[in-house]
């Protein structure tokens, strides 16, 4: 279903985009967070159990992300209305981005689009300049957790002093 070799690799400049995001549908993309690390968490679909658990985990870890001044952006090919309901049901406060129209365009540009029409379960960490510093493709049925993300943020913190306080 997915192409494991297609995901964007470290060292590449992250493709720019701006798509509707929770909570209010404002257009968001990584460029708006230059100067801070950005975690793009692609996931297959709102409402699936693994996706819900993964996003809930990242929400619970919000204080840890804050220590790195890192911004987490969840993104799937669902529409903004679905995202809003999903975010509300799961208590997710970080933005969920709707890669819905044209469907999957952002996922395609990051090499995170699967032939079944969903986003892959992929993690991409951008440094404060918008360069990919780490990427990871997880099997769709496995929640990748956050240890790899925090390892990447640790490396950025060591290189660029992005830690808060």
């Amino acid at each position: 279903m997915s192409d494991p070799n297609g995901l964007i690799q470290p060292g590449r400049t992250a493709p720019g985009f701006a798509v509707p995001a929770t909570p209010d549908g404002a257009l968001l993309g990584p460029e708006q967070f230059r100067g801070r690390p950005v975690v793009l968490a692609f996931y297959p679909a709102d409402w699936s159990p693994v996706c819900g658990d993964q996003m809930s985990l990242y929400q619970s870890a919000a204080p840890v992300f804050a220590q790195y001044r890192a911004v987490v952006l969840g993104i799937s090919v669902d529409g903004i209305w679905s995202h809003r309901a999903f975010a509300e049901s799961r208590g997710i406060e970080f933005p969920l981005l709707a890669d819905f129209e044209p469907k999957g365009e952002v996922a395609r540009s990051y090499g995170a689009y699967m032939s079944n029409g969903e986003a892959a379960r992929a993690l991409v960490v951008l440094d404060p300049t918008g360069t990919v510093t780490w990427s990871y493709l997880s099997p769709p049925d496995v929640n990748p957790g956050a240890d790899g993300i925090f390892d990447a943020l640790d490396r950025l913190a060591a290189d660029r002093k992005v830690m808060a306080g």
Binding site: Q9, P10, D53, R90, G91, S135, V142, G145, D147, G148
Partner: protein, 182 residues
């Protein structure tokens, strides 16, 4: 640099005497559970872990660490802090068992009754929980879990390696026996 498809997570915070440990200190196999008292899957795993300890009493010890997923389980942090308040009084496991055996009664009123049933002073514990006197310990466990690749609850580590199998007793016995006889 190639993109990894799956990496087995490993426990990064070693077990110490500060952990809540059930079973022999010199056990060949250590199972570390990152759990959430309000999580139904943790509740389902609880009797299996109990039976695992009974059937492999000489082989296994269980370490419990807090991993409350607060945005979906509104009582989980309070329950964890209550367990820790019991723990500083040497009563962690009694409180742990009560919490898992009464998962539908974790609201503050019922939790106070539970504290009383365990034989601890509810007013004293309530005050500590209200003041978040034990929040640092809960948070330390949580962050350690995040760094170790905890990806939901319960997450178990068997001799330091994340157990990605099931939580039924046969699955647990298989995992533990394999770790005991590598």
């Amino acid at each position: 640099m190639s993109t990894p498809l799956q990496v087995t997570a490993r426990l990064r915070d070693p077990v110490t005497t500060e952990d809540h440990i059930r079973g022999p200190a010199d056990a060949a196999v250590t199972v570390v559970e990152y759990g959430d008292f309000q999580c139904q899957f943790c509740g389902a795993a609880y009797p299996n872990l109990h039976e695992l300890l009974r059937q492999r009493a000489d082989t296994v010890r269980l370490v419990y660490r807090y991993f409350p997923i607060a945005n979906v389980h509104p009582y989980a942090e309070r329950a964890a802090e209550t367990a820790e308040a019991a723990g500083v009084r040497g009563r962690f496991w009694e409180m742990h068992d009560w919490l898992y055996e009464h998962q539908d009664q974790l609201d503050p009123v019922h939790l106070s009754l539970g504290v009383e049933q365990v034989g601890l002073p509810p007013d004293e514990l309530n005050a500590e929980v209200e003041n978040h006197a034990h929040a640092d310990r809960v948070r330390r466990d949580f962050v350690g879990g995040i760094r170790s690749g905890v990806n939901g609850t319960p997450t178990l580590f068997v001799n330091g390696v994340r157990h990605d199998g099931g939580y039924d007793l046969p699955d647990l016995l298989t995992a533990v026996d394999a770790a005991a006889n590598p």
